[in-house]
Amino acid sequence: MRTNPLLEKEFRQRMRTMRTPVIITGYVLCMVILTFFLLYENVQGQLYLVQPTKSQQVFVILSLLQMVVVAFLTPAFAAGAVSGERERKTLAVLLTTPLSPIGILLGKILSSSALLVLLVVVTLPVYSLVFLYGGAVPQELIAVLGFQLFTIVMIATLCVLFSTIALRSTWSTVLCYGTVSVMMVVFGAVGYGLKMMYQQNPIELFSLHWANFILALNPLYVEASLEGAVAGTGRDWLTFIWFYVVVNLVLLIPSLWRLRPQWFSRLPGGRSHTEKQYQ
């Protein structure tokens, strides 16, 4: 089976620039320095003072930090994926090839997330330092890694779909960073706000229900709660997955319309659109 030609081309284009090794090296260096700093800070220079609970804290901080970094880096790689093709005037030619719109989107999503996935994978040895002192268990690491990879692909998908719908990279970038900010900041703040309302007035079960739901859409909250999930108590990650899968599926419809309006021309009013989106 032949690999998606777009994926191969994008890999080639991305990996041959100096930017890629610089980003990877810089990121790994930062993570290493931070890990040493956190470990050192926890024990105040007395390595025999290391306790498993402290090591667990370092693991959580590192993984949350990594989540923030990759969440905000993903739009930088994906926000111009399709709109960039349109702006460079290469999209029209691509659409006259037998590549399907799904194939184009898939190639763009995978190539946009590839570097981020690589970033997460190359930092795995850094996490191993945490295991030296106990605290976190390998299942937690696998859960965190899996969740981070899912979140990267999910954000990349959102960004590629936005870049297909928005026509211009500027708008697409605004939409992508806006969405990531809502996920990372707004959902967290609103969720905790509702939870505090419930704590002050325990009768309001309504606010507790919504607090739990909204917090389950926040990647940082879900990642922090993965310890419980590994122990079999939390199911927030499931809410997170189905919600964002549904959002992506909904956004897929206008994206396909942008790429192949002919598919929708048999629907009522389908022929009245301008079909100028290739230029």
């Binding site: 030609p5 284009q13 005037k89 037998p98 290739y278 230029q279």
Partner: protein
């Protein structure tokens, strides 16, 4: 090979293509000529499956563009009027990428790419990055890209636009080479004289309507019915003007920088008789020549005829 039946394209209330009926035989180079906004790009984008006809049908290689777009895409190589390239790829990688998009057998890709690069005169640029190529070279690379999957039909939208005269000549040579390959080609342009050396047939598009379709030779013969003669004389201009005024085939007389320009509707025999009369009257002619017919003139005349209808 290419057939349209009452093809219509509307954008809102604007009619871009109106009831177009066109037939292009296999191996024919068809030039679609028209001013900006005449509907050339709208027609070609429908043929290239990029937009859906509002009404009517278009067939390529027996496949209807709305119903069998996948088969149509495999049958065509499309070069849009304004296109971009993937800058960070080399010429060879660029061609290989599009070969992969069309699922071309990998064992054939290299040899076909080499053959096409030779055809478009870019062999020595095979390892050059695409962004280092001049605009003319990029345009020729696009032609090679269109041919990577060996399509039967080429749809080229203004392939020479934005090129300097030298690159335009090189492009013309490439297009002549394509004609020799036996491909069915549709070329749109507003630079008419370019088509005279390349196209077999020309269709003139005006405000979305195909106002004339003819073989290029027939068009040029037709244009002979309205020849422009250039006359110069020593001294006696008035005598020359009197003779010209008496000839019923003389439609228009204008004094130009090169001499007197006469729009003449007579046959070659009548033209010879006019020359004899001028000489017999004592007009001392230093020049009596027929101005080469420009296809552009013909286009303007036909357009004017349509305008008057």
């Amino acid at each position: 090979m290419i057939l349209t039946q009452n093809l219509v394209k509307r954008y809102g209330k604007m009619v871009a293509v109106n009831e177009m009926n066109l037939s292009v035989d296999r191996g024919t180079v068809f030039g679609l000529v028209g001013e900006n906004g005449a509907g050339k790009t709208s027609t070609l984008s429908m043929l290239a499956t990029l937009s859906t006809p509002t009404d009517g049908y278009a067939y390529i290689n027996g496949y209807e563009v709305s119903r069998n777009p996948r088969e149509v895409r495999r049958s065509i190589g499309y070069m849009p009027d304004s296109f971009g390239v993937y800058d960070e790829l080399t010429v060879m990688e660029y061609l290989r990428f599009f070969a992969d998009c069309y699922d071309v057998d990998r064992r054939l890709v290299r040899s076909r790419a080499e053959e096409l690069l030779e055809r478009v005169r870019l062999t020595d640029k095979r390892n050059t990055y695409v962004n280092a190529l001049s605009r003319g070279m990029q345009q020729r690379l696009e032609i090679a890209r269109c041919l990577m999957h060996d399509p039967e039909v080429l749809i080229l939208d203004e392939p020479s636009s934005g090129l300097d005269p030298r690159s335009r000549m090189e492009m013309r040579a490439v297009l002549q080479g394509l004609r020799d390959m036996g491909k069915t080609i549709v070329i749109s342009t507003h630079i008419l004289h370019e088509l005279a050396e390349v196209a077999d047939e020309i269709g003139i598009l005006r405000k979305g309507e195909l106002v004339a379709v003819a073989a290029i030779q027939v068009m040029l013969q037709h244009s002979n019915a309205y020849r422009t003669l250039v006359l110069c004389s020593q001294g006696d201009d008035d005598g020359m003007m009197r003779v010209l005024a008496e000839d019923k085939q003389v439609l228009q007389v204008e004094r130009g920088r090169m001499g007197v320009e006469v729009l003449y509707a007579g046959t070659h025999t009548q033209q010879a008789a006019l020359l004899t009369r001028l000489v017999e009257t004592g007009v001392r002619l230093t020049q009596f020549t027929e101005k080469p017919t420009d296809i552009e003139d013909l286009f303007l005349r036909l357009s004017a005829v349509q305008e008057g209808m």
